[in-house]
């Protein structure tokens, strides 16, 4: 039940180990890793800066994790989100959910990713030499999040 917002990269294997060690009730572990894609909005851009609102990101992500724990029977849940400068191929977000039931682990994972994309205060700035461009929010992300509303 951990949320970390950090500049540094993360170690997926170490986080997996930490979340599952010593618990033999877990049958399913679903790991979502978000990577920086080639910059669709600024072709040729080589650098991306992820700005965030420090206190609020932590708070919003913790609220999402709390809701996931309430809605699904999870044994463990971890969210790590990076900020700062990132390049294509870099890891940007890690979500791990563990449960006795695989569907709970899948659903909680997708819920967390869909919602953090629409709720966690991060903004992507793509840069290509002199050109700078703030990435625009996608309606498809709002729609993805909306399906979890109840």
């Amino acid at each position: 039940m951990t949320v970390r917002v950090q500049r540094e990269d993360f170690d997926t294997a170490a986080e997996l180990e930490r979340l599952t060690a010593g618990n033999t009730q877990i049958g399913a572990v679903v790991t979502f890793t978000g990577l920086v894609r080639d910059f669709a909005d600024t072709p040729g851009a080589q650098r991306m800066t992820l700005e965030h609102y420090p206190g609020m990101t932590q708070r919003q992500l913790e609220a999402l994790v709390a809701e996931a724990l309430q809605r699904w029977p999870l044994d463990g849940c971890l969210v790590i989100h990076r900020f700062g400068e990132l390049a294509p191929g870099d890891r940007i977000v890690l979500v791990i959910t563990t449960s006795a039931h695989r569907q709970a682990a899948y659903d909680a994972s997708a819920f967390l990713v869909d919602w953090l994309k629409t709720k966690a205060p991060f903004w992507k700035l793509e840069e290509n030499g002199g050109e700078r461009r703030w990435v625009e929010a996608k309606a498809s992300d709002d729609e993805a999040a909306a399906r979890w509303r109840r």
Binding site: M56, V93, F122, W123, W134, E136
Partner: protein, 83 residues
């Protein structure tokens, strides 16, 4: 009252934050937005299009009719694009 701006809104206003003391009749988020828009052309440019402005009061998302008080931390930012 501490007001924060992020991303494109920060660039448009030209400052990352400011401490303001609005008049007593500024009671809600909507009142505050209207009052801030009058402070400068930069504020107006940043806050004019409501569809592009999200507001948080004390780090929780807030609606226009939500009350604001002197000790609050109010943040304005564009729709988020993390993950």
């Amino acid at each position: 009252m501490r007001v924060l701006y992020f991303a494109l809104l920060r660039e448009r206003v030209g400052i990352p934050e400011e401490t303001v003391t609005p008049p007593a009749d500024v009671r809600t988020v909507a009142d505050l937005v209207a009052w801030l828009r009058g402070r400068s052309a930069q504020h107006e440019a940043a806050l004019a299009d409501a569809a592009l402005v999200r507001v948080a009061v004390n780090q929780d998302y807030a609606r226009p009719d939500q009350a604001v008080a002197p000790g609050d931390e109010i943040a304005f930012f564009p729709p988020v694009t993390g993950g």
